[in-house]
């Protein structure tokens, strides 16, 4: 699909893409940041006009910057890009290194440490409103 590089809609079928996922990462298959998880929340730190001024970005990077104007989890970035999570982590890691986005780590939940009572109460209150 020739329009891939210019197309900003996330609805493309990945089967339609002729670009192999790791081509977008210039062959990198592992993220420099191992702390990124599926639910690490990413938020853009740059206003839109400054986003445009950042040089050397792939279209996928710009898509992420656009998506993160409101905070989104890394899994949502991967879904929006139609790319595997591993690739989304590499691209998001690039933007963190540039200072263009910030990452919020999820709550640490170790085995036997499930007693985040205030957290669980907040979750319960939220669910009750559904």
């Amino acid at each position: 699909m020739v329009s891939h590089w210019a197309d900003e809609t996330p609805d493309d079928d990945p089967e339609d893409s002729f670009v192999r996922p790791y081509t977008i990462t210039h062959g990198r298959t592992a993220s420099a940041r191992e702390d990124l998880t599926l639910i690490t929340v990413i938020v853009s730190l740059l206003p839109p006009e400054e986003q445009l001024a950042v040089r050397g970005l792939e279209p996928e990077h710009r898509f992420i910057l656009e998506l993160c104007r409101t905070p989104v989890a890394l899994a949502e970035i991967a879904a929006g890009l139609n790319l595997p999570v591993a690739v989304a982590k590499i691209l998001t890691g690039d933007l963190i290194a540039l200072g263009a986005v910030a990452a919020r780590a999820p709550v640490a939940v170790a085995a036997g440490q499930g007693q985040n009572v205030r957290l669980l109460q907040a979750v319960r209150d939220g669910l009750r409103r559904l």
């Binding site: 998880t37 599926l38 639910i39 690490t40 929340v41 990413i42 938020v43 730190l45 905070p71 989890a73 899994a75 949502e76 991967a78 879904a79 595997p84 999570v85 591993a86 910030a102 990452a103 919020r104 780590a105 999820p106 709550v107 640490a108 939940v109 085995a111 036997g112 440490q113 499930g114 007693q115 985040n116 009572v117 205030r118 957290l119 669980l120 109460q121 907040a122 979750v123 319960r124 209150d125 939220g126 669910l127 009750r128 559904l130």
Partner: protein, 201 residues
């Protein structure tokens, strides 16, 4: 640890983002995992995929080549925004259990799990139940009863699944938002009812 006091000092920028927690929605193929995610999610379930490196088995093996190959697993997930500070993600686990059992990023850090079961083929839930028990991830069982059809009782299901009496079992049509919501509420109550961990001095 409270949910709102971590990383404040190390990563002030991260304060711009809400913190996130996740629940896993597991169970055999076609039992209604994505149905449940969709019933409570504020967005249409999203789909994403990941590459996993797994040991090769069976006819694909080629002598002399190391016994690993990469496979792609897909999962559906949804989101519930509780507040500007807190978002809940629900991840439906992929159907092929032997793959997602190895997907650490999917499993680690989950607050708890729902095992969706179908009474006509309860055996498809065994793998998920064993997995959560061995990883000590708290879970509840939700028996999906389409159109309210209940052909088994809760005690029958508990016996058939050999479940600890403390594990809640709920029955209902998971397509209904209130039913799926109540399953999640039961999971949260189950998490809160667990004994306090030994305090760290």
């Amino acid at each position: 640890m409270g949910y709102d006091d971590s990383d404040r000092h190390e990563a002030p920028d991260g304060e711009l983002a809400p913190t996130a927690v996740k629940f896993l929605i597991a169970g055999g193929f076609g039992v209604g995992k994505t149905t449940m995610v969709g019933a409570v999610s504020e967005v249409e379930p999203l789909r994403t995929e990941e590459y996993l490196t797994v040991a090769s088995k069976g006819v694909d093996d080629i002598a002399g080549v190391d016994g690993k190959h990469t496979t792609t697993v897909a999962m559906d997930f949804g989101r519930i925004t509780v507040s500007p500070e807190l978002v809940v993600y629900l991840f439906g686990t992929p159907g092929q259990e032997r793959f997602w059992f190895m997907w650490d990023d999917l499993v680690s850090g989950a607050l708890g799990a729902v095992v969706v079961a179908d009474t006509r083929r309860l055996e498809t839930s065994f793998g998920s139940i064993d997995f959560f028990e061995s990883r000590r991830i708290p879970f509840v069982v939700a028996v999906n009863c389409f159109d309210g059809r209940q052909d088994r009782t809760v005690p029958e299901v508990r016996t058939a699944l050999d479940l600890d009496p403390r594990v809640p079992i709920l029955m209902g049509d998971l397509r209904q938002r209130p039913v799926s919501r109540d399953v999640l509420l039961a999971l949260v109550d189950h998490l809160m009812a667990r004994p306090e961990p030994t305090p760290v001095p």
